[in-house]
């Protein structure tokens, strides 16, 4: 599983982590080793096996459409790195809204 620093850079971009050049160089071989190891899962012929998401076969867990108290606004904004007009203030957004 050949993972170049450039591949790692692409993944880091998807994951919004600005890795340094040194980190990219350092990580690529480490990740390659790990990926080779985990690739063992493909050894198991599991075509007809259902994937498992949960230990217990729970289904249909719902809540009724009733109101529960929201957080007081001061608490909502308390941890905010920046706020203005009772809203979270964030730097200018480049991307279009999806």
């Amino acid at each position: 599983m050949a993972l170049t620093p450039s591949d790692v850079a692409d993944l880091a971009k998807l994951a919004r982590i600005e890795l340094t050049h040194a980190e990219l160089e350092h990580l690529a071989p480490q990740l390659e080793v790990i990926l080779d190891a985990v690739a063992r899962v493909s050894e198991v012929a599991a075509d007809d096996i259902e994937p498992m998401s949960h230990a217990l076969p729970l289904t249909n867990v719902f809540r009724d459409d009733v109101l529960r108290p929201s957080l007081p606004r001061e608490q909502v904004l308390a941890g905010a790195p920046a706020s203005e007009l009772d809203r979270f203030r964030v730097p200018r957004i480049l991307g279009e809204e999806a």
């Binding site: 994951a15 600005e18 949960h54």
Partner: protein, 501 residues
């Protein structure tokens, strides 16, 4: 050492209720101990002393007025810093959350508070619960009280160390791949991972949602069982929590009767990579169970060899998504906001500065495993392997009541020894991971010290989902006999920690 510190939680609670001791003096004694030894042990990231004493005072008053209090009322407890406790910092061992004070309590926290337990502080951990040594904490490692140059296990090394250092008699940890059990094993304490869904994850900062479980940590089996009964149970705020009564863990812990139990030894969890002392003590403990009336059976679990690879695909995938919320927009660290940089740039710079190396590794692997074109081969395939491992357990539990293995292949290794070798570090979880993948209940109990280094060895018991009580039955049996053999708790042999100041 103050005798209060050597008293079990259950005994302390009884004395407090009987007013032979006050909660305040109990808390004081433990806070003093923490102040004395934690500069060396570094189990704690935050001490909530003032609030703890206020709580203790309130509990003493309640008792004086004859009001009802819980079974562990007035007893101090340490909470792994991955569980939210309103008003106290929750860092998850990471710079990205340094100083974050959550506005809400985890359900586990709420249950502890409602049970009148006194939370004295938050304990150290590998960053975002990723690790087996607590060396990945952004705030420095925790030191194993058995030997300060050794790791206390991870990710919940702080919780386990706080018990072994007699800083607290109770702790709550979380276990995703062994983070309660492996630290328990290398510190000579008891650590239990309930059945997945047995304890609420609401307020547990998620690592791998389908694997995480909060659980009780203590020095004795009965203490752990009592704590288990307090924190476990259905929570409507957690869709994955089990809507069924908590198994009778207390009854099982008190009974400790294994006569007639069928105990399966997992064939695959032994041999190469396992320290001789670990295998020796494990073998002795199994032999002991046999003399107590249990039937020992070899049980092959052929797909367990795929557990580690499957785990290191599923976990990174889920965590890459779970950790996306740490983006500097609403809480936590914000780096690079100079008025020019875009939100995207600030996110990327913050995550770069705020996450440690292991976290970055796993996020990248997870992003890769989920990306289009790779999903089927990696994450998809790993989830199928998970089914196969579950079936191994099902097949096993059709013939035995519990499975046993060493909790981890080695005793506590030296701090720094495996930090540069991620794969070597991952191997610490070899024994514990299968239970997380299948979701069944599992625990580690101390079974002795390895002859070669005098360090604790743990035996892992695994029980079918919802049969958590069987863990305690086996653990109690071992404890009763071994403590008798040892002439006291294993932890009596922890070296005296140099008292600072």
């Amino acid at each position: 050492m103050n005798e209060i510190l050597r008293t079990t939680a259950v005994e302390l609670a009884a004395k407090i209720k009987a007013r032979e001791l006050s909660s305040v003096e109990v808390i004081h004694a433990h806070l003093e101990r923490i102040a004395a030894v934690d500069p060396d042990v570094h189990a704690f990231l935050h001490i909530d002393g003032e609030r703890a004493l206020q709580t203790a005072t309130r509990i003493d008053t309640k008792i004086a007025h004859g009001e009802h209090v819980g079974p562990l009322a007035g007893v101090p407890l340490a909470l792994k810093d991955v569980l939210t406790y309103a008003g106290a910092p929750t860092t998850c061992g990471s710079k990205i959350l340094a100083g974050w004070i959550p506005p809400y309590d985890a359900t586990v926290t709420r249950r502890l508070l409602d049970a009148d337990v006194v939370i004295v502080g938050k304990t150290n951990m590998d960053e975002f619960a990723m690790g087996s040594s607590t060396e990945n904490s952004a705030f420095g490692p925790t030191h194993n009280p058995w030997a300060l140059d050794r790791i206390p296990g991870g990710s919940g090394g702080g919780s386990a160390a706080s018990l072994a250092a007699f800083e607290v008699p109770l702790a709550v940890g979380t276990d995703t791949g062994g983070s309660i059990r492996q630290p328990a094993s290398v510190t000579g304490t008891v650590g239990v991972k309930p059945t997945y869904g047995g304890t609420s994850r609401y307020g547990l900062v998620a690592l791998a949602s389908s694997l995480d479980q909060p659980g009780p940590c203590a020095r004795t089996v009965l203490d752990a069982a009592t704590l288990h009964a307090v924190i476990a149970g259905h929570d409507p705020l957690d869709s994955t929590s089990i809507d069924a009564p908590v198994p009778d863990v207390l009854g099982a812990a008190r009974s400790g009767d294994v006569a007639g139990m069928k105990i399966g030894v997992v064939t695959e969890l032994r041999g190469e990579g396992y320290a001789p002392g670990v295998e020796q003590r494990f073998g002795e403990a199994v032999e002991l169970l046999s003399t107590l009336g249990a039937e020992i059976i070899e049980v092959p679990c052929p797909h367990f060899v795929y557990a580690l690879p499957a785990y290191y695909l599923i976990l990174p995938a889920e965590c890459s998504s779970n950790l996306a919320k740490f983006d500097a927009m609403r809480f936590g660290l914000r780096v690079g906001d100079d008025g020019e940089a875009s939100a995207e740039q600030v996110m990327a710079a913050t995550r770069e500065a705020g996450f440690g190396a292991e976290v970055k590794r796993r996020i990248i692997i997870g992003t890769y495993a989920l990306s289009s074109g790779y999903y089927d081969a990696y994450y998809g395939q790993a989830q199928k392997v998970r089914t196969l491992i579950s079936r191994d357990f099902e097949r096993a539990f059709a013939t035995v009541d519990v499975l046993v293995s060493p909790s981890t292949p080695t005793t506590a290794f030296k701090i720094g020894e495996k930090v540069d070798d991620p794969l070597a570090m991952y191997l610490n979880d070899l024994c514990t991971i299968p239970s997380n993948l299948a979701g069944n209940a599992s625990a580690s109990f101390p079974v002795g010290l390895a002859p070669e280094d005098g360090l604790p060895v743990g035996l892992q018991v695994m029980a079918p989902p919802l049969a958590d009580d069987r863990l305690y039955r086996v653990g109690a049996a071992l404890e009763r006999t071994l403590v008798g053999q040892w002439g006291g708790s294993l932890l009596d042999r922890v070296p005296e920690l140099t008292v600072v100041g």
